[in-house]
């Protein structure tokens, strides 16, 4: 019988050993293959990077190197902003913007926080809208849309200019500085500027006599004319009431008479308040009172 356990193989056996066979099958397994070809290198890379970065001094050195490189780029003349140009603003406002931004020009464009600059400009009362951008050749361009003042508001503290929405634009020292704008007064008048503008538009026929509008109790308007005449307007539909007064005036010259106040607060019962002299004259005429009583 042939020996069952061969002493030495006569020639090379073409068959793979059991281990080689299993290894090849393992290598042909898709999951194992993906793990070895992607997972293992990724792990080695992450691990080595982590190992390198676990030292604090290395991290510090890397941070400083990065900062140095970044500064070098920032400080290049191509990125320097040398000039601040402001368009669409009056000279006084432009000065105010420059003072507000207070940029130490020339400086690198990376150091300018455009959004913060825009917000700080828009904080100014006179600015409705601002746009900040860096133009070529180192110019910081600021485009401004200014608020337009429409009324002067007198308060205890002084005179302010308000725009159509009642926002404060600026303070003026004297009424005469903006004599072209109508005057309003009273607490809370700034919150009813659109209504005031509507009243002013309606009061066009008596405009030469108009001194201003007074907000009463933060709810209704008084129209103040010269000779201290007042038209007390209701809270609701003041424009219609005013038109009624103007119609009366045009028909019967109501306001030319010796009237202190026209009270329209209750539309069903308008009241005229006469001056004392006129009142006594009326009473005399009605025979209620003698002409000499007052004397």
């Amino acid at each position: 019988m042939r020996p069952l356990i061969p002493s030495a193989p006569a020639h090379r056996d073409p068959a793979p050993s059991r281990t080689a066979y299993r290894m090849q099958r393992l290598w042909l397994t898709p999951v194992f293959r993906a793990l070895l070809r992607v997972g293992f290198p990724a792990f080695v890379m992450m691990f080595s990077v982590g190992l390198y970065l676990s030292d604090a001094s290395r991290r510090q050195a890397m941070a400083t190197a990065w900062d140095g490189a970044w500064e070098k780029v920032e400080d290049r003349p191509e990125f320097l902003v040398k000039l601040l140009a402001i368009d669409g603003a009056s000279p006084a406002l432009a000065e105010a913007i420059r003072a507000k931004l207070a940029l130490p020009l020339p400086m690198s464009s990376f150091a300018i926080d455009m959004e913060a600059a825009r917000l700080s400009i828009e904080e100014l009362d006179a600015v409705a809208d601002a746009e900040v951008r860096i133009r070529g050749s180192g110019v910081l361009q600021v485009e401004i849309v200014e608020r337009q003042p429409v009324v002067v508001w007198r308060t205890g503290a002084g005179l302010s200019l308000l725009d159509g929405e009642g926002l404060r634009i600026a303070t003026i020292l004297e009424r005469a500085d903006r004599a072209d704008l109508p005057l309003i007064a009273g607490q809370g008048a700034n919150r009813a500027v659109p209504e005031a503008l509507a009243l002013l538009a309606a009061a066009q026929p008596i405009l030469p006599r108009l001194r201003g509008l007074v907000r009463v109790g933060e709810r209704r308007w008084d129209l103040v004319l010269d000779r201290n005449q007042r038209v007390l307007l209701p809270e609701v539909a003041p424009v219609r009431a005013l038109e009624r007064v103007i119609a009366l005036d045009q028909a019967q010259k109501l306001l030319d008479r010796d009237v202190i106040a026209v009270d329209l607060r209750n539309e069903h019962r308008p009241v005229l308040r006469l001056a004392p002299a006129a009142l006594s004259a009326l009473r005399q005429a009605r025979g209620l009172e003698s002409g000499e009583t007052g004397l």
């Binding site: 056996d13 793979p16 042909l28």
Partner: protein, 444 residues
Amino acid sequence: MTDLYQSQRAMRHMRRAAMQRGVIAILDVGTSKIACLILRFDGPERLREADGFGPMAGQSGFRVIGAHATRSRGVRFGEIAVMNETERAIRTAVQAAQKMANVRVDHVIACFSGGEPRSYGLAGEWELQDQVVTEQDVARALAACDVPQIGEGREVLHAQPVNFALDHRSGMGDPRGQIGNRLACDLHLLSVEGSVVQNLLYCIKRCDLELAGIASSAYVSGISSLVEDEQELGAACIDLGGGSTGISIFIKKHMIYADAVRMGGDHVTSDISKGLQVPLQVAERIKTRHGGVHATGMDDREMIEIGSDSGDWEKDRRTVSRTELIGIMRPRVEEILEEARTRLDAAGFDHLQSQQIVLTGGASQIPGLDMLATRILGQRVRLGRPLRVQGLPLATSGAAFAGAVGLCLFAAHPQDEWWDFDIPSERYPARSLKRAIKWFRDNW
């Protein structure tokens, strides 16, 4: 038998799993070579668009992506004789095929030619409960077949229903859904030595592979070498292998008989080796290069040098004429063919209308074999080569690979076998029900 029924059933499930994964290996364990093909299944639709052909005999659904054949060791007469050697040869073939395909295969379908296959024709009848034939009825008709004594230690390899008859109508392929009263079926049962199957199972398990199917090589080479009309009208396939010669008879696309002669090309080689006093390797070389079965006058003058390195000049310079070689080969080939003829006659092949015989396998490549076979087997003999399969390398598409190619077709379209049908519910052994109840009591 229930045991094998269960294991065959498990193999079917394994095959389905492999088809879902899309890769399956084919292993032809032969006496002279072990071939491994790796198939990739990727849906017929895509391939049909790609090549513009319709489905060809069901083989357009897969593609061979890896192939390797290695010299077989430790296999005799198609049976595993030395387990270690066979395992190494299988490993070699599988590894090389895997390397070519660049995929890992876990499921393998194997075929072998040994184990003394024996055919039995069984018949069963079943009275239908309600007119219409259902799958249960088919299973009951199959279960009603009376199983013959197949012998101690033998197991069923194939059990294929080949014919169904409903009342007086016979020759039905698929009776399901038809209306009748009595369903009768014919079953072809092929039994082999159980130990041969066990050895093969063990060998494949040792290679970390799972068996997804097992087939007789006579059957699968018939599938690949017989063309469609031959399978339909009736034909016999003789697979002249290395260690054994498989015989299968087909009719109506079903195998109705299979047998094996335990003689093959290796016996021719050993005859040459003995007759010319040369080693087996030299004999094999002389057989393949100069072999033949018909001597002519020309062959007397054709001298073949028998190289050898014994050191004896006279012995090393011997020559032999081709006529002498043919004189050694021819009796053995005649013996094989006559044995095959005997088997065919015993099976009643001469009662078939069509007497077509197809010779395939490695030994069918002997020049002049068809003329010799005509004398012994009858006029209608042809040499068959296996079907062309997509992606099969040229080196593995010869007649010697009929079994491997047939196994590919078998893997793609297996025939319904007995174990593909569910066991009829009343046939479940009562013991298993009792066991289930006991398990339930113990655990809940």
